[in-house]
Symmetry: C2
Subunit: 215 residues, 2 copies
């Protein structure tokens, strides 16, 4: 008599459910949805395949849960910066810093997110759940104001986003490629990423907030 564990948890030991989620996250992150089987995940957990379906109904449902968690983590790291009480220039600088630090600890995340969205079977957009919390921080208004005051280069929100994400996300997505191309080890790459962060910060800040040439 199997029952799916719904919202109403009647004194269920969550450790198993959480163990599966953790294992699934590890496997999905490294191998992708198509690149792994439910047995791979079960092996990672150290137990039976049927257990995954007992707790999460299907591989797809489990994946969606992991994906939403990942997106939430990512979103949270952004919100923290945007909610701070700083001028836009400092917020931007801080954002780059925090994002880099975050991805240093979760380097598979950018690739995972893009891949998941790429092969998004359903048509449900992630936009509302993602943009609404950011909107609430007032960052978009702050951006408009800064551009109106001439403090920030006039360019669309979309182009700003692409510029920022390119420089912050890509380096982590291309880790293996970079290592292979240049024949370097993980430690060396780590140093390169730190150097890259410094470059990106200077370059982007200078570009987005051009100084009206000092006398």
């Amino acid at each position: 008599m199997q029952r799916i564990c719904q919202n109403k948890q009647m004194k269920i030991d969550l450790s198993t459910e959480e163990k599966i989620k953790a294992a699934a996250k590890r496997v999905f992150m490294t191998k992708g949805f198509d690149g792994c089987s439910v047995r791979d995940i079960a092996k990672e957990v150290g137990s039976n395949v049927a257990l995954l379906n007992y707790y999460f109904r299907s591989k797809e449902k489990l994946f969606e849960l992991i994906f939403e968690g990942a997106m939430s983590d990512f979103l949270q790291s952004i919100i923290e910066v945007f909610s701070s009480d700083l001028p836009l220039k400092e917020k931007t600088s801080l954002l780059i810093d925090k994002e880099f630090d975050f991805f240093m600890e979760h380097p598979e995340l950018p690739m995972f997110i893009i891949q998941a969205i790429q092969q998004n079977k359903n048509e449900s957009s992630v936009a509302p759940t993602f943009f609404e919390p950011i909107e609430k921080t007032g960052i978009f208004q702050q951006l408009k104001d800064a551009q109106a005051k001439g403090e920030m280069r006039p360019m669309s929100l979309r182009n700003i986003t692409i510029l920022l994400m390119s420089n912050v996300h890509y380096p982590f997505m291309s880790k293996k490629l970079t290592q292979q191309f240049h024949g370097i080890d993980e430690a060396t790459l780590q140093q390169d990423l730190l150097a890259h962060k410094a470059h990106v910060k200077e370059m982007l800040i200078n570009y987005l907030f051009p100084q009206n040439q000092p006398a």
Copy 2:
């Protein structure tokens, strides 16, 4: 009596082999190696599954062929620019232009390459076949010279590479994500990419080749 088509082609009609390669390229590019079956490809070709193995021995071998072709195409677009007789600054500007134009027509390529390298089963490095032809253009020496003369910002080749690839590759890898996030159609995104190209060119050139502040 099946024979694998080797180098020695005895008046074989190549159209079938090429048709399979073209179909496989389309399918692999959009769905990835794990995301498709050989029957998907066969369906795209419009013929039997066994034909793929007849011509290419295995799904993996076929994929490697497609991958190498893609890398070759990509490499070629770079070599062309580097081989030109221009100052480094102009070469860099031209490179960004050409790369953007190239990816405008092959937007799946950056993602395809990174994914393929990411889940590279074997340990064989792509570095030599990739770097050697670039080395031969003399671009690395030109770079050293420019840095020695103070024309170019002193930073490692690796960091320059990451910076360039981030800004040129990522926008195409994140097409679907950008569309979903901002709720825009293909045409709008295309315009954004053109705008992004202009931004990237100005930003990178200014950063990599800083002007000793004019009087």
